[in-house]
Each structure stands twice: as C-alpha cells, then as structure tokens.
Symmetry: C2
DNA sequence: GTCTATATATAGATAGAC
DNA sequence: GTCTATCTATATATAGAC
C-alpha cells in the first residue's frame, strides 16, 4: 500500500497548490516515477481518487479533533486556526474545501456529497466548541454559535486566499487573530 | 462589439459557476450559437479572454466605487458586502478572486499580476473607508484598518463558499452581518 | 465575422503482456 | 504491480474559404 499512500500525498499537495483540475494522473505518475496507467491499479478513475482524497482529509480531521478533546473551547478554536495556518506556511497552500468549492458544480455528485459532509462535520465541531465557549465566557455572550462557526470558517478559508494573493502567509494569521480578538470580550 | 460583450458575459457567469478550467471556448460558442473557432476572432487565446475578464471586473468595481463616493464609511462597507451577496443570490456564484486563487499557480504570469492588482485595489478601497470609519466612530476605535480590510474580504469570499456548500445564499449574508456587528461598538 | 477543416496536446481510461 | 500500446474525448489554436 506504500505506493497508494504516496500517490495520495502527492495528490493532496497538488490539489492544494494547483486545484482539482490543475493536476493529472500524469503529474502524479511523474513524481512517483511510474507510468500513469499504473495509477489506475490503485484508483480506477479520477473520481475515485477524488473521493479517496476527501476521505483522507476527513479521517485526518477526525484524528486531529480527537486529540484536542481535553482543551478549553478557546484553545480548540485557536488550534483550528493554526491547522489552517499550517497550510499557508507550506507554500501558501489553500484548504481543500476552498479548492473543491470552485468547481463544485462540475464535480460528480458523490464527490459533492462527500465534500459537503466534511464541511458539515467541521462546522458542527466548531459550533459545539463555541456553544460551550460562549456559555463559559471564553467568548462574547452575545454571539450565536452557528453564525460564529460560519464566520470562523470563512475567515480561515478566505485568509488562506489572501495569503496566496499577498504572497505572505502571515496575512492569514493576522486576519484570523483580528477575528479572534473580536470574538472575545476585551 | 455586441458578440464580444456577450461572450464576456457568458464567460463571467461560467467562471463564477464552474471555475476558470471549468468552461471552454466550446461552451461559450454553444451558448452564443456560433462556432468556437469564431471566438478566436475576439480573443486570440484563453489567456487573452482571461485578461479581458479581469479587466472587466476591475472596470465594474471602479464604476461601482465611484457611485458610492458620497456615502459614509459604514454605508460603503455595507454596500461592499451587498455587492458580494448579489453573487450568492445569483445561482450561488462565488467571487472571481476566489476562483482564480485556486489555480493561481497554474495561471499565466500576466493573469496573476492582473488579479493581484484587482485585489489590491479593493483592499485599498476598503482600508481607506475603514481608516475614516474608525476615526469617525462608525467602527470600533481599537480596530486596525489593514487587518479589518483583510478580514472583510475573507468573510465575503469565504461566505460565498459557505453559501454554495450549504446551498443557501442567506448564509453568506448572516456571516457577514455577524462580522459587521462585531466591528461596531455595541 | 463566421465558417469548415485541421493541427496539436493532453486528459482520463482500458486491454493485455510481463 | 507495472508496463506498452491504444482509444476516445476534449481543449486550445491556426489556416484559409466564404
């Protein structure tokens, strides 16, 4: 399964650097040093590869979230932002959701479903942390958890795009920090 | 110039619905009822079309901004959000910058420059409005104009993506309204 | 300005040998 | 598992007729 895992890693990088239509089996094969036809042994179609990518991201998020179970709501939100920031730090990558959103209407239905599911999972995770955080006083009492979760996601995804345009990953961090300050009572 | 303008309109719609690599000369030609080869009379290459698209957006923004000269800083920001919201209302379109950001690394250099220029223009416009708005008390005194401008752009672009995923344009509006409330002292 | 015809490149995908 | 060879579809792009 070594080759399959390697192929997935390469695909993930390409996806976040050049978009879903911005890389091909050929690109992955080149980097892997095999022929593109060989890749069909692991992924019968590009849709198949696309689904594997999304599942991989979903599994990684689940694993990541499990590790943070003991942290405070505020710390969880901080870590969430840092997870996205680590994308920007790595060659100004943007997030997979931002990538798939663009050609969403042109994607196979199964991929559309898988992506929205992943987004829903993340939004619910944020919302849950925010509900407790608002109650505990980590965040402003006046906030609505649902709207705030959406705003956080938007700031992260939008922040990554700003970083790429401005060729400076710190822009993403300061943008999200500005929001974080606004969410806490000062 | 009628046909050229029509082609640009179709391209703009396709761009915001399916991404830059998500439509072809063929698609435009079909909708226009001509042959794809004929389009090369107006746009010698897809890069040429891409540049025309960006210039078109830039001109539209300039025109839009000029009309708002008399408004208060707060009203300007409100209008800025509404401009993006009108994208979401129209078949859950996302913004051109969000589209081009994804395949940015795969785009011709001239397009990259043109896009970042457009983004810079919008950011400077926001920043200028915010500097006055913060001074006038429209917005919180503690805000930094530059960071706030970035946060607003991120919320708009990210909000459009959320709307598409959640298949609900109002999500974009409530997300930005949540931010707007945070930016004003309440 | 628009057409037909064609060139060229590349994508995703399959068949079958090794 | 990986290869060669091949198929089909589609993209951008050009030449030249009308």
């Amino acid at each position: 399964m070594e080759t399959k895992a390697q192929a997935l890693e390469i695909a993930k990088t390409q996806l976040q650097l050049r978009g879903y239509n911005g890389f091909s089996f050929q690109d992955i094969a080149n980097e892997l040093g095999i022929k593109k036809a060989s890749l069909h042994y692991y992924f019968s179609s590009k849709e198949d590869l696309g689904l594997a990518l999304i599942e991989d991201y979903a599994a990684a998020f689940q694993q990541w979230a499990d590790k943070l179970a003991e942290l405070s709501p505020y710390e969880k939100i901080e870590k969430y932002i840092l997870m996205f920031y680590s994308f920007a730090q790595d060659n100004l990558k943007i997030c997979p959701a931002g990538v798939f959103c663009v050609d969403f209407n042109a994607l196979p239905v199964r991929m559309q479903k898988s992506i929205t599911e992943l987004q829903d999972t993340q939004r619910r995770w944020l919302e849950k942390a925010l509900i407790r955080g608002i109650k505990d006083g980590d965040f402003k009492k006046s906030l609505k958890a649902k709207d705030t979760a959406n705003l956080l996601i938007a700031a992260c995804q939008g922040g990554l795009q700003l970083a790429r345009f401005q060729d400076n990953c710190r822009v993403m961090k300061s943008t999200c920090q500005t929001l974080l300050d606004l969410l806490t009572d000062i």
